[in-house]
Amino acid sequence: MTEDRARKVYAIDRGTVIDHIPSPLALKVVEILGVKQEGILTIGINFKSAKLGSKDIVKVENLKLTESVTDRLALVAPTATINIIEQGRVVEKRPIHIPREFHGLLRCPNPKCITNVEEVTTVFHLEGEPPHPAVRCHYCERLYKNPGELVE
């Protein structure tokens, strides 16, 4: 990180840094991770990035996010990288694995789907691969091409 950026983004001693989020999805990432109430969050939007043109960064202080949580980002920010920080140093660099199935993460927009009529945990199966992931509802079998929009 350059000195200039260090002044712009608050460094953390312990926690999780999500880097390389395509702009402007940082707020969506926070929503998907479900970390709004989890202590100090630092959000940086529109940094220059050689890879992405422009990127966002999210830092979650004092919380080591598990893999099952960070893998949720596969649907909206498959390019993101996860760094786990302890005592100010990166102790784990983690890529995002796209799960073949999503349980309870997405909501089916089909009003005639049983998941919107009865108490059922939603299940979606991955059909398209990134960068064009698509998901199919396990119950009503409809295919959705923008799965990021289905996140509850």
């Binding site: 089909n110 789907c113 049983i114 998941t115 009865e118 009503c140 079998e141």
Partner: protein
């Protein structure tokens, strides 16, 4: 191939080999090989939405092979009306029967039922989603007629947008070497999702708007009804429906030999003049619902193997 205790929910769950196996068993049943195979078995026929034909076909299939039937023909008489959840209804009924056939207006209802039931569930239609026994009987009928599915050219005519039978049929036929021809008005075309799946799977197909535009002869033409309620303008409906009415002239444009199928009920999309010729196989198709459903009932209860 294991079918014992397996639920039949969606044609998507079946491979080409499994479909061929079911079609083969349906033929054995029709030839009388599995007489009384369902003896001692009880079918719960749960029709949360009325459907006389499908219900009668399931019940006749069960009874004529020695089985018995309990159930209801309308959700108004079930405890759903009292607010019971589908999952609870199914958990209860599971204790009364060996197999469940259910129709429900909500999409995915049969899948959910199969996950909570202790007995196999056969989906007899879940809203606009799936009706797999219809697809199996359609495939059985085509196979019975030609002795094969590979190498055929199958057309589908009419409302291809909302018709779940044609969606499932197109998907199932894509597992075979079948060329598909979709004939519909632009507003009722086969949904893009299905077209894309066919394209990705390398299925040969063409889409046309009129019967006269079909290139080459068809082996099978699967006709579906164009429903009035799909059109805001009645005159537009009349014009479109009229253009897709099948008679002798249209049949000869399709090579004259093609077999005509229809999931029924038919209104006026096939002219009565077609009924008596050798082309019409739609009533036999409907009757094939019996051996096909018997084969499936026997397979999932473990009495046919």
């Amino acid at each position: 191939m294991e079918f014992n205790q397996r639920s039949i929910i969606s044609i998507r769950d079946f491979s080409r080999e499994e479909i061929e196996f079911v079609v083969g068993k349906a033929l054995e049943v029709k030839q009388g090989r599995w007489h009384d195979a369902l003896s001692g078995k009880v079918l719960a026929s749960l029709f949360f939405e009325p459907s006389t034909r499908t219900r009668l076909s399931f019940e006749a299939a069960m009874v004529s092979m020695g089985g018995r039937v309990v159930g209801f023909a309308d959700a108004g008489v079930s405890s759903t009306k009292k607010g019971e959840s589908l999952a609870d209804t199914i958990r209860t009924v599971t204790g009364y029967c060996d197999v469940i056939a259910m129709r429900h207006p909500v999409e995915g209802a049969a899948r959910l039922a199969s996950e909570v039931a202790g007995v196999p569930v056969i989906n007899a239609g879940d809203g606009a989603n799936q009706h797999p026994t219809q697809t199996f009987l359609d495939l059985f009928t085509i196979h019975e007629e030609f002795g094969r599915l590979d190498g055929l050219k199958v057309g589908m005519l009419g409302d291809l947008k909302y018709g779940r039978t044609v969606h499932s049929l197109a998907k199932a036929l894509s597992l075979f070497e079948v060329e598909q021809v979709f004939i519909s008005p632009p507003s009722l075309r086969m949904p893009e999702g299905i077209i894309e799946e066919l394209r990705q799977g390398g299925t040969a197909f063409q889409e046309v708007e009129e019967i006269d535009q079909v290139q080459g002869a068809l082996d099978v033409l699967y006709v579906t009804r164009i429903q009035k309620e799909r059109f805001a303008d009645f005159q537009e409906y009349e014009r479109v429906a009229g253009a897709y009415r099948l008679g002798h002239r249209e049949l000869s444009a399709l090579g004259g030999q093609c077999r005509v199928m229809h999931p029924l009920p038919r209104v006026d999309e096939i002219k009565p003049e077609v009924d008596s010729g050798g082309n019409a196989i739609y009533f036999r198709q409907a009757h094939n619902g019996i051996p096909t459903r018997q084969a499936l009932l026997g397979l999932v209860t473990g009495t046919i193997s």
